[in-house]
Symmetry: C2
Subunit: 390 residues, 2 copies
């Protein structure tokens, strides 16, 4: 039975998973919330061409002496028009917002500063030359950075990419995770428990936890406690996924299906100096990393948050969930030699209030917490500790 500190196990899990998914190209409409894998430079100048900011009249400012001035109107340039002919001297042309400003014109006079009279327009006012002309490249130039690598793509980033004609963006391929929960006592929520049975909370906890961390869950199953059946499902999961997570069946009891299957296949099985979450294992099955959590639902969630969530987030290009300092409002005394992860609520003053006790079965209470409180030894009320947002 191996023994590891939290740091040792975290390093071992990180080395085992070694997640570095290749980028993939996805259409903009599928990229919301994903991280940009590389800098995207604009392939074009934006605006693409010199265009009008207003509905009005394109003119040459040199044609305007003392106002008002009356100019013949030679036509109209709608938005979407192809390259218009150059503007003749001493004339105006009606122009719509976004339409290309013809060569020769250097200003647009908004329609409200004009009066149309037959085929001629009277210009009553010019605000400032060029003010209503959007120059080509005045937003961004071809080759300029449009969206930086690592940006988590929100609507405004996708809009900027679209505006520059970029239809697809490269993002890290989602890590594929398989979730296998074990325990002869487990039944599905919605079923009716017989005596001794409990509802499986770990399948949805790990499923949702992986999704929150930017991964894709390709398989999430409650598996039989029959070793041959578990092995069959595990091999299928290893084939389908980049990472397999299991819960339960890994401690020192008499009926430990995960341990029975992974130990003969060279797994590290041991005890982590933490509470909850003591018994854990890591294995490589058919080349796929397998991380085995204990079955108590709080143990599973805490182990996931401490060992796997940071790796999945990093692989997805998402920022780490930073631990914060917080002031304890009551003393905490972890078991000797163990790192304890209690559940707590952080208030706006940076004080953390423990939620329920240390028991790893307190899964309902955990829903009321918003941080894990990491305590490496006896701490008094008023001490500062690290808390990890959930």
């Amino acid at each position: 039975m191996g023994r590891r500190t939290v740091e040792e196990h975290a390093s071992a899990v990180a080395a085992l998973l070694a997640l570095a998914p290749e980028p993939e190209s996805v259409p903009l409409a599928a990229a919301l919330g994903r991280a940009c894998a590389e800098d995207v430079r604009s392939p074009v100048d934006l605006p693409l061409f010199r265009n009008s900011q207003m509905d009005g009249y394109a003119i040459r400012s040199s044609d305007l002496g003392d106002l008002p001035v009356r100019l013949p109107v030679l036509g109209v340039i709608p938005a979407g028009a192809t390259e218009p002919a150059p503007l003749e001297h001493g004339a105006a042309i009606r122009i719509m917002t976004g339409a290309p400003v013809p060569a020769g014109a250097d200003a647009v006079v908004p329609v409200e500063d004009t009066a149309l009279d037959g085929d001629a327009v009277t210009i009553r006012r010019v605000r400032s030359a060029g003010e209503f002309v959007r120059e080509r490249g005045s937003d961004v130039g071809a080759g300029d950075l449009l969206v930086a690598a690592g940006t988590v793509l929100a609507a405004r980033h996708l809009a900027a990419l679209a505006a520059a004609g970029v239809a697809e963006v490269r993002v890290p391929r989602r890590v594929r995770v398989a979730v296998l929960t074990t325990g002869a006592e487990l039944i599905e929520p919605g079923e009716t428990p017989r005596a001794g049975q409990v509802f499986d909370a770990n399948r949805v906890a790990l499923l949702a936890g992986c999704q929150e961390a930017g991964a894709e869950v390709v398989l999430a199953e409650k598996v039989s406690d029959d070793p041959a059946e578990f092995e069959r499902v595990l091999l299928g999961a290893a084939d389908a996924a980049d990472v397999v997570l299991t819960s339960g069946g890994i401690s020192r009891g008499d009926f430990e299906v995960v341990r029975q299957v992974v130990e003969p296949r060279g797994a590290w099985v041991g005890e982590i100096a933490m509470q909850p979450g003591g018994p854990q294992a890591t294995a490589e099955i058919e080349g796929t990393p397998v991380v085995c959590f204990p079955g108590n639902p709080v143990s599973t969630q805490v182990s996931f948050a401490v060992f796997v969530r940071p790796l999945l987030r990093a692989a997805a290009g998402l920022a780490p969930v930073a631990a914060l300092p917080a002031v304890l409002t009551e003393p905490v005394e972890p078991p000797a030699g163990k790192r304890q992860f209690r559940r707590g609520r952080l208030d706006e003053n940076g004080h953390v209030h423990l939620v329920a006790g240390p028991g790893s079965h307190l899964v309902a209470s955990m829903a009321a917490a918003d941080v894990l409180v990491e305590v490496a030894g006896p701490r008094a009320a008023g001490d500062t500790v690290a808390v990890i947002p959930l």
Copy 2:
């Protein structure tokens, strides 16, 4: 041509949309990130039954006098066992973590504090009576609040619901939005622009913006500038969606397809005292609310953030995006009588730095911003203004 202040238009849009989606039940695995529509009380005690916290031996503490004590072992209770027989006096029974503690037993001695010798176990140490027994209901009692209405469901909430046997949760039905973008000059990203054409940034901006706000986009199309064709698509969108959003075609130009179609159908079409985003409209088409934004991409995004995003978030049960105070680092002078929404970056000291100019075509620059800076009149550097996170 009507005129409205920002507040008047916001009120008009809120009254028109009047979003109050009925809750729907969804399986836990589909509920991540959605808001709980109502308080969920636990239908059961958790734990469901008194069970063992450790692998060890269930005993009666009254059977232990001076330690060590040797007790016959009468069998084993695995996890998942049905109700075990009461524990006889003067005996122990091997018990696995999570297994039901038999009547009569009031403590579990962890296996590491014992020694098994044939059919009897020697108890070497008792830590504290009851410590390794999880009492029924010690996590949550039947009828107790499990997840409060309004909670945005994260993995730990879904785990708590699952643990209590709750298989589905009620969340507000997603508001169905149709997005129609117009403009004869628009082409899709990925296409090759001819002179005068521009890439449509609004379709993906509104699509992603609605998704970020918890809505479902049932239709997102770039529509022809032909009024008959636009009307046909608009009627289909009104039929398929709870809300239709349009961009473009609503101002005072000669070719304004949205305006041509909605005005004869009783739309309010007018000018909002804001920049960007002046020309806007609201309509009710076949009973479905339609909100019409101007076509400049920054105008569309700002109008969405100011008028529609708050309503979609509220309908989805998501918290409002709160405006924050921030200190201007340079003066801002909006056009007379208009509320200006500039783009800015907020730093960690609460100072906001403007990003690019006020132009509504600066869509690439907007990607570099993280707030809208709301300015109701001339402001100097050092003045405090409201900023709206993007």
